[in-house]
Symmetry: C2
Subunit: 574 residues, 2 copies
Amino acid sequence: MKLSHSLLPTLKQIPRDAVIPSHQLMLRAGMIRPLAAGIYSDLPFGWRVAKKVMTILREEMDRIGGQELYMPCLNPISIWEETGRAGDFGSDLFRLMDRKNRSAGEGERYCLAPTHEEVICDIARGYVKSYRDLPQIWYQIQVKLRDEPRPRSGLMRSRHFIMKDSYTLDRDEEGQDHGYQLHYQAYSRIFERSGLETFVVGASSGLMGGSGSQEFMVESESGEDTTVRCDRCGYSANLEVATSNIESIAGPNDQETVIEVATPNQRTIEEVSSFLSIEPRILIKSLLYIVEDRPVLALVSGEDEVNESKLGAVLGAPFRPAEPHEAMQYMRANLGFLGPVGVDKSVKIIADLRLRNSTGLATGANKDGYHMTGVNAGRDFQPSEFRDLRTVKAGETCFNCHAKLRLARAIEVGHIFKLGTKYSQAMGAVFLDENGVEKPIVMGSYGIGVGRLVATVIEFSHDEQGIIWPPSVSPFDLMLITLNPTESDIYRLSQSVYDDLRKDGFDVLWDERDVRPGVKFNDADLIGIPIQIIVGDRAVATGAVEVKIRKTNQRHYVPKEELVPKMAELLESL
Amino acid sequence: MKLSHSLLPTLKQIPRDAVIPSHQLMLRAGMIRPLAAGIYSDLPFGWRVAKKVMTILREEMDRIGGQELYMPCLNPISIWEETGRAGDFGSDLFRLMDRKNRSAGEGERYCLAPTHEEVICDIARGYVKSYRDLPQIWYQIQVKLRDEPRPRSGLMRSRHFIMKDSYTLDRDEEGQDHGYQLHYQAYSRIFERSGLETFVVGASSGLMGGSGSQEFMVESESGEDTTVRCDRCGYSANLEVATSNIESIAGPNDQETVIEVATPNQRTIEEVSSFLSIEPRILIKSLLYIVEDRPVLALVSGEDEVNESKLGAVLGAPFRPAEPHEAMQYMRANLGFLGPVGVDKSVKIIADLRLRNSTGLATGANKDGYHMTGVNAGRDFQPSEFRDLRTVKAGETCFNCHAKLRLARAIEVGHIFKLGTKYSQAMGAVFLDENGVEKPIVMGSYGIGVGRLVATVIEFSHDEQGIIWPPSVSPFDLMLITLNPTESDIYRLSQSVYDDLRKDGFDVLWDERDVRPGVKFNDADLIGIPIQIIVGDRAVATGAVEVKIRKTNQRHYVPKEELVPKMAELLESL
């Protein structure tokens, strides 16, 4: 394609509001244009990359037996009510009326789908009748909408985005595991083919529910997620679920009984531990939550933070921190003086694993202005369960190999879920087994955001000058740069190089604009096609064109007649 | 692909509510599943056809220099307010709030785009600066949403649909004409490649506006449009704009002056002409409309109907029939007794061309219970314009070749528009010409609905048994039918045929289900893959497989080793 005829509006300036490199570079390289907050058009150059990615997605989904279909983004909200997610998604769901339900005064009876488990179940309950109809793998590449509270970072977190989502439908857990494994392998190939290095972490299932999920992550400063990584054994986990090898809490075990100590106006861990001259780690942090109108007291060591994601998994229901008046109501003390000793039975206590068998602890006394010391778990208070509630910190050791763990920012590029029968049960997507017994379909759900994948490739592969595309997803194979296109010898040679390369099946972007060489070199480096072929005076004089590898800045001089095989060879090597 | 593993739910029964053949067959062949009124999922079999069509669309758009991009379906309504179409589309536009404008109590600030002229202009005003940036052809294949008052006929008229829409941006009318011609040619190729016979009609531009438009039509009883066709010279037009060769009105010219006649209670054309014993054609039909609060009297012959589409084009503004009290206010008579003689100057009169120089007419007297006879145009009333206002009728003659015209139902499969500067002016999409003068971009807009195209192919090519796909858009090239797959010889031979064909690049659907042959034959005819290869006892015994051409029911017996070249040859011939 000739650049002078293309919509490829490059920018020299870094656009305001674009913070992370991929967002800056997609704007600067003319790949996207914002239309509203979190809503972008893909311009032709960006769309070419998206199409390359979609081709890889289709090939790998087809390879594992996926059947492609296409589901509407406009959904009747009734199916979302069947699964309860109309409520779960809350304001994240765009809701709207059609002319009929508007005139009937019914309120919003439609939504824009951020994912498609409900529609999948509706299709399944229409057509899947028998165990013979299973397993199935259905996928689509389609637009999704989600009213993000804070859309940001360009295509990383937008409100309108294209996703490949797929769904496995199986008769049992074993089938589900197989479909899940197929996706694990397909996803590994997809990211590898896109030029990314990924690692896989256990993850929280969030609004999806189900029995387990894993995320494919790419380490990046621009990532929104924090992961815990062990560089020795390869253990990786999202901070939301990560664990480490950490000892139990044991304080000075020199008190036979609990002693109440006045701690006037001392409320925070820092204030109380300093006032009592004790280590923060032996002071119990007691946090009161309200879970479906009932009080739950969560306990962790004073040096730890409650991980609300882990707590949520333990509670299995929506929860929120208690208000001061609720602390008074259930604990008869103000926040800052709460503790697990002598608590009313109506308050459920859940303690972090580090507190099991712990001794010599300090804690709030459930009495304003007082704390207690010499508290032993088991003797002085009895949690209903000990569970992993704390957030791992950098420098703790790996539970597996005892090497030091590090925290790493990362971008989630894929998420795979075992959903079990959560959706199929709610929606009546059932089948008859060999014995004529009706059973709910066991489902899995798997997603890759196309725009986010493209942005991640850029995060992973760019430099000061611009993008460096892996050949597999580059918008063009080759960039041909003509210096001084107004000189007829140079133009003629360029045209002949362009024709030869295209005849051989290369996708070539030809910069034949009548602008200064510096502008061309800068634009070429910015838009990042992996190989640049430069034709100017010297090429006309010598018959050899200059070939520059974008990534390494390495230069070759290649006789025109050897260009086609050389380009194939170089692209192969990148 | 093996049918036993596929989501291809065929139905024997004709589904309720599906009236036209394509809707019935798409449901029966498991191509689509309804999710809500006018909202469908494309199931894998249907989606394969859609993808074939999209490939043809991309190839032909690329061939004319189109650059593919992708614009969001979720639009800020502000850009629709810039062009005035937020109002023009009215209830056809789905409108919604995001969380921010909901909490700000602002009302609906977003809409779901039924077309993309506004976004195109927004992109153009961002990047097109100079005449050097023009011309451009931009296209996308993307989902559109439109709150149809009466969604019906499956994918023919749905509320959620995929379209190829493209836009030409040019510096002047000449450039626009060139881009329009390129599209005309591309569209002709697209429909021909899809196996359709189309004809082109001049059309009303409706909500798009602009200087002219044409529709690509396929003649079909299922069509929503009525067209006028001349089978001799090829003249074709949508009834909304069609003209014919028809003589002026001349009645008995035997009265020197107008005579007022009492016509008590005679109001309709039929009543009055019968009462006065005159031909209805010489009685003027006088219809009062209100156009932006001002009265307009439209006149046609009593045997003609006012074509409101033509009238709208003449008026250039929204209009409605007058209420009885408005007739009294402006004409001092009730509806039924109106006429053009002696009308107040504030009432604009527009007469059909047939009334130019007409004589000896009858008309309402603007006096309840009275008509007039002996009325001559020019002498007794003076319209401000004579324009073509009437609807053509079957049997009238062609203005071009004088052959008889016929009316034909037809499906609109493509629409091409010259938009001029309507949108670019409203949105400030301008460029600087060679002299530094700022000018609005001249635009064209062009659309093909993917789902409607697929449905039209089915309307055009089916029989009692089911669909008959043209090879170019068939979901598979070949269908392999194994009779008695539980017999190992038959299964082995089938597997070998399947492998051979796939190795050679054929896309094969293999029915290896353990069901009765009758079920297989019926399903194969229903889903309509152009060639069926049948493997049973006889094939095992003779080494020759039966090949059935779906369209002609012709059968060939082909030795297994000759199958690959024979299939290529047969597909080529279809």
